[in-house]
Amino acid sequence: MTCEELRDSYELYSLGLLDGEEKREIDAHLERNCAVCQKRLKDALGINALLLSQAPEVVPPSRLRRRVLASVGLERAGWGWLAAAAAACAVVVALWLSLEKRTTDRELADVRRALQQSVAERGRLEQAFTFLNQPETRQVNFGQGQPAPPRGNFFLNPRLGVLLIASNLPALPAGRAYEMWVIPKGGMPVPAGLFQSGPQGTAIHILPGVVDPNVTVAVTVEPESGSRAPTSGILFSAGF
């Protein structure tokens, strides 16, 4: 067949709708690089594109763009938004866990601190019992008969030291602490340790170690860093 006889067949050929002799003829013309047929095929492709581009416009869903780009490896699959949401959730969960952990850590620290206080308190009580159980321990009380004074007892054991058990201690302002003093006869007060009262105004304080059995023990209020010598009047004292 001549190129002219094939003139009306290129559109159908390029759409894949031509068969039989006409298709074979066009294939043959194109195979031998027939310029006329190549030009007509190109024109047919142009007409096809113009017709195909006139389909009624429909806006594709936005997820389709993600799918297409994901299919060529340029974007996470269509569930990218879900991954992003999951990542955001993970961050929130991590923050929550972090806060939870911080809270737990804080509670744990509080418990540990309370336990340490309990252990220390128990240690002091055991020491106190030891003091009280020793036959050579002597006791002097203070504050008896006062309207609202601190009350309590000093216990002195020449081998073990001095034990103070007090109650009704006034709450101290911030930065202040109670300081115990041991005052030898005719001597200057010697610092015997700092302590704070408990919530009920109670305190147990121990000066461990060998101590002169003939001393006066006193308590003053001092800066919480302690003083080398009393800077305030004696709050209570007892002589042995």
Binding site: A49, L51, A55, V68
Partner: protein, 204 residues
């Protein structure tokens, strides 16, 4: 039927946006170089057109989405064979889209395969080169639309069955219960009218 389906202003606006040959060369070069921004640009340029065409053919949005993905993947994979200096991306992408959709509806109808290999062969980017800048101009699109509207109802119907349904002339004859010769006459005369209108435009 086709005339009823074409909202002219929208279609022409799409054409204007989509068929920009001068820019396609650079886009094709970047696609071949696997430039990360090229594929999003290709989709942004032709995605709506491709989706509209495929949906028009398959009339099923889920299938259309699958086929759009397949179309762009196919274009991406076949880019190395594309002539970046002379090739026309728009016509090629549309042809791939149309053929994927036609292949789909034929397979759904249980006709798969006679034409599958042929459609695959016709998607080769080779023939889509050396298009003149004006080949798919807005003016030609307008002229084609005008020419189409002048066709007889039977001519319009056979053109639509060829482009949007992928029916051969024998299948059209069966569908329309008309002699094959008659259908062939309608098809050829319709395409001749369209071709001549565009030729006249080119000669002006």
């Amino acid at each position: 039927m086709l005339a009823r389906l074409i909202p002219v202003s929208l279609a022409l606006a799409l054409l204007q946006a989509a068929l920009r040959f001068k820019d396609d060369g650079d886009l094709a070069r970047r696609l071949q170089a696997r430039d990360g921004g090229a594929m999003p640009e290709l989709y942004d340029r032709y995605g709506r057109l491709v989706y509209s065409l495929i949906l028009r053919i398959v009339r099923n949005s889920a299938a259309a989405e699958d086929l759009v993905q397949e179309t762009f993947l196919r274009v991406w994979n076949r880019m190395p064979a594309f002539d970046q200096k002379r090739g026309a991306l728009g016509p090629w992408v549309l042809t791939v889209a149309r053929n994927r959709a036609i292949d789909y509806i034929r397979s759904v109808d249980g006709k798969m395969s006679a034409g599958a290999l042929e459609l695959d062969r016709l998607e080769h980017p080779g023939p889509f080169c050396d298009f003149e800048d004006r080949a798919l101009s807005l003016d030609r699109a307008r002229r084609l639309k005008d020419a189409f509207e002048k066709l007889t109802p039977n001519q319009k119907m056979v053109v639509e069955m060829a482009y949007y349904e992928g029916l051969s002339q024998t299948e059209m004859a069966e569908r329309m219960q008309q002699p094959l010769g008659t259908v062939k006459t309608w098809v050829r005369s319709a395409l001749k009218v369209l071709r001549e209108q565009l030729s006249e435009a080119a000669a002006l």
